[in-house]
């Protein structure tokens, strides 16, 4: 190495946290970028939540009450898109940014500048999506699944903006995933062997693989929608030899792995929290790794369980039914292992543990309703009813989102160096837990009774249940403001200082670092025992 290089190199290790707006715009620091991702996700969570409030206000009573049907459809569509691509996925990426380098003993992510780019293109993408709501014809109204011909023949002109904003979300996710995967492959400290990696790292590794494999397929799907709508192709139009059913195949080939993208990191989080507060090692570490891997692989061959009613040969229906049910096996292994970890542990119930416990119970309910939906003849009745809405909100809200909240409560003291406001946190937990069940549990019943999803009006007999659902919805929405208050307090560094280990039973590299974690994590590689 030349001396000039050494100087440059030397310089580099001494730059300190820059301040002001440039710190955030130019940053290459995994912690700063993680924070940006997490705040962005939380803001999107509130925006998407506000749309859910509009939906629930409209459905409070039968009949058209508050909004136009077309606007109602825009709300359900953009709510779904924002929650999936703007809230859950960026939140997990933010957690990966903060935690993966600390957990594997790396100084930062492998490709720090690309890391910055992959974050900063997101606000632009969502600006475009949200702006389209205010344009002529309104925003997308075809559901987050944008089935053709709803998104082609029957959509409005802002579909083009929708397509390009989804492209950017995809680019962002792919770059984020490449970063995670390369970091894990290439930046582990000496001695951090594969089977010593914390499960959060493992689950994110596999999530990243899924992302790189399926986000490009989504890009292909939106591209074909664009050309069908604007350039006269007929991929999804039978008159030209195409097929609208083909859209669904392509979309769900992306879509089903996508739902696992939104739950695998959650599995990793829960696998970190449960042992800490049970003061025991995780039960069946290796089986957790294999279960995660097999879930990911199986997720590529189950997509058509979303299409049982759209038209497929019987043999295909059977294949996708059994393949789907097969996924419950590794999922069951996981739930079993968490419960076995707690068995005879000395449990304590700090806030992260409360969320983790709620996750186990409520996610399992979502898994079981998924199993019901996987049965072809049964799904013929349940498909496109509120039962499906109940299913995916149990796995996504009480699953993915509860795990994100658990993670924030678990690692926040490590990030800020201060304990969060425990009273507020407990209020947040109990209010959320109760309201979320008032909100989503009755959806099972109205769904089984035949109430279709994605409509602004419904038959009179569903009125009582829908009122309960709406009340639960408003309460859940308000409960999140408690979380907002708590986070603001935490970011202003209020609260009691914490020790390096923070939680009595916590194990892992990140708990050996000082609290708050220093701006540059490991300047030299740590020793892994």
């Amino acid at each position: 190495m030349s001396t000039a290089a050494e100087e440059l190199h030397h310089d580099d290790h001494h730059h300190h946290a820059p301040s002001g707006i440039k710190r955030w715009l130019y940053t290459t620091n995994h912690k700063d970028i993680g924070t940006l991702y997490l705040w962005f996700a939380f803001i999107m969570f509130l925006v998407g939540g506000a749309m859910a409030m509009v939906i629930r206000a409209e459905l409070f009573q039968p009949g058209l009450q508050i909004v136009e049907p077309n606007f109602f459809n825009q709300m359900t569509t953009v709510h779904g898109l924002i929650m999936v691509f703007g809230a859950v996925m960026p939140a997990f990426t933010g957690l990966a940014n903060w935690l993966v380098p600390m957990m594997i003993g790396a100084p930062d992510m492998a490709l720090p500048r690309m890391n910055n780019w992959s974050f900063w293109i997101l606000p632009g993408a969502f600006t475009i999506l949200l702006a389209s709501l205010f344009m002529e014809g309104g925003g997308p109204a075809f559901g987050w699944t944008f089935y053709a011909p709803l998104s082609t023949t029957y959509s409005n002109d802002t579909t083009a903006l929708f397509v390009f904003s989804v492209h950017i979300m995809g680019i962002s996710s792919i770059m984020g995933a490449i970063n995670v995967i390369v970091t894990i492959f290439n930046m582990r400290a000496p001695g951090m062997t594969w089977m010593k990696m914390p499960l959060f790292v493992w689950t994110w590794l596999i999530t990243a693989f899924l992302l790189i494999a399926v986000m490009p397929v989504l890009a292909g799907a939106v591209t074909m929608v664009l050309t069908d709508k604007f350039f006269g192709t007929s991929f999804f139009d039978a008159a030209g030899g195409g097929d609208p059913v083909m859209f669904q195949h392509i979309f769900w080939f992306f879509g089903h792995p996508e739902v696992y993208i939104m739950i695998l990191p959650a599995f990793g989080i829960i696998s970190a929290i449960i042992p800490t507060f049970s003061r025991k090692k995780l039960f069946g570490y290796a089986s957790m790794v294999y279960a995660t891997t097999s879930i990911a692989l199986l997720s590529f061959i189950v997509w058509a369980h979303h299409m049982f009613t759209t038209g497929m040969p019987v043999a295909a229906e059977l294949f996708f039914m059994f393949a789907t049910m097969l996924i419950s096996v590794p999922t069951g292994v996981k739930v079993f292992n968490w419960v076995a970890t707690m068995w005879r542990g000395s449990l304590s119930f700090e806030v992260p543990m409360l969320f983790a416990l709620a996750f186990i119970v409520l996610f399992t309910i979502g898994g079981l309703s998924g199993l019901m939906l996987a049965i072809v003849p049964v799904d013929f009745q349940y498909h496109d009813t509120y039962f499906v809405v109940a299913h995916f909100h149990y796995v996504l809200v009480t699953g993915a989102i509860f795990s994100i909240m658990a993670a924030v409560y678990y690692w926040l003291p490590k990030w800020t160096g201060k304990m969060f406001d425990i009273t507020l946190a407990k209020w947040h937990f109990w209010c959320s837990l109760i309201s979320v069940n008032v909100l989503f549990f009755p959806m099972h019943f109205v769904g089984l009774a035949g109430m279709p999803r994605r409509i602004p009006d419904y038959a009179l007999q569903f009125a009582d249940f829908n009122q309960w659902i709406s009340i639960g919805g408003f309460a859940f929405g308000l409960s999140q403001l408690i979380f907002l208050a708590l986070l603001i307090k935490a970011c202003r560094k209020q609260g009691e200082p914490v020790t390096d280990q923070v939680w009595e039973g916590a194990e892992g590299l990140e708990w050996e670092l000082p609290s708050p974690a220093p701006y540059h994590t490991f300047e030299t590689p740590p020793v892994i025992k």
Binding site: R113, P216, G242, T524
Partner: protein, 293 residues
């Protein structure tokens, strides 16, 4: 792995370029979204300008970012570990491109094997054919759509065959360029790389010829039903990738003229050549599934 390697953990410095790139992508997406509508509706608007501004910003960003990166690399600031990160990152990027093409190949296979036969009553869909389009006949290439659009199929002989040969040779010349670089034979390196670029340009030229021929003489257009759709989207996206690959190779060529790259240290070259091999493999698949079969 030696402890040594890890002791020079290198964390790249802050950089303004990503944020410029974010602005560029925002302008491109917003501009393109409006431009597409304006074009197809024949309206006038600012979409095209915004799109152009975005593209210019993107090029500005790419030039700036790469210059910065090259400067740092030439100063010897990068560690072996960072080099590995770049290589792995590039490999995963190419994997994502493979999946992007897989979506369109998937559409092609689905249309051929399932959608088109079903329209003619295959499987248990006898009534679909009878009721909707009784005179429709399932053949591939689909030269007459159920809706009645007629077109002709592109034969695999002639231009497509020449193009296949050209691109396959270019893969070989690209490989020889790499070998020459590793042997530090700069003269041969320039020759082989230059030849690769020339072949890439010839390919693109012939591709344009083929498109002109298809549009003017064969009545084969993007609107010609599923055959034309898959034909033009697959070859079109491939052509865009060849264009990008050629530009990358040209940039590499100029860097080589300036004396960049050593037998040990040439990530950019390696990435470029991987990319080139990737577009070649895609073309072989294309030639087989789109043209021959």
């Amino acid at each position: 792995m030696a402890q040594q390697e890890y002791e020079k953990y290198y964390v790249p410095d802050q950089s303004p370029w990503p944020i410029v790139g974010a602005v560029a992508l925002f302008l491109i997406a917003f501009g393109a979204g409006n431009f597409v509508v304006e074009q197809t509706k024949g309206e006038s608007g600012s979409g095209g300008w915004i799109l152009t501004a975005g593209l210019v910003t993107l090029i500005f960003m790419l030039v700036g970012w790469f210059r910065h990166q090259i400067h740092e690399s030439m100063a010897g600031m990068y560690s072996a570990q960072l080099g590995r990160s770049y290589r792995q990152g590039m490999a995963w990027f190419i994997f994502s491109e493979v999946m992007f093409f897989a979506a369109f190949f998937g559409a092609l296979f689905y249309a051929r094997v399932i959608a088109v036969p079903w329209l003619d009553g295959a499987g248990n869909n006898a009534m679909t054919g009878e009721i909707l389009w009784p005179s429709f006949e399932a053949i591939w290439p689909l030269v007459q759509t159920p809706g009645g659009i007629e077109t002709t199929a592109m034969p695999w002989t002639g231009l497509p065959l020449y193009n296949t040969i050209i691109l396959m040779i270019s893969s070989v010349t690209c490989h020889y360029a790499h070998v020459a670089l590793e042997k530090n034979d700069r003269k041969k390196l320039k020759m082989w790389l230059g030849l690769t670029i020339v072949l890439g340009c010839i390919f693109l030229f012939l591709q344009v010829e083929e498109y002109i021929h298809a549009y003017t003489e064969m009545n084969l257009t993007l609107q010609s039903g599923i055959y034309g759709n898959t034909f033009f989207l697959l070859t079109g996206f491939h052509g865009m990738h060849v264009t990008l690959g050629t530009i990358i190779l040209i940039v590499l060529f100029f860097r080589i003229l300036k004396g960049h790259f050593t037998p040990e240290n040439h990530f950019a070259f390696q990435a470029g050549s991987w990319y080139w091999h990737f577009v070649d493999v895609v073309w072989v698949m294309l030639f087989f599934f789109v043209y021959i079969l």
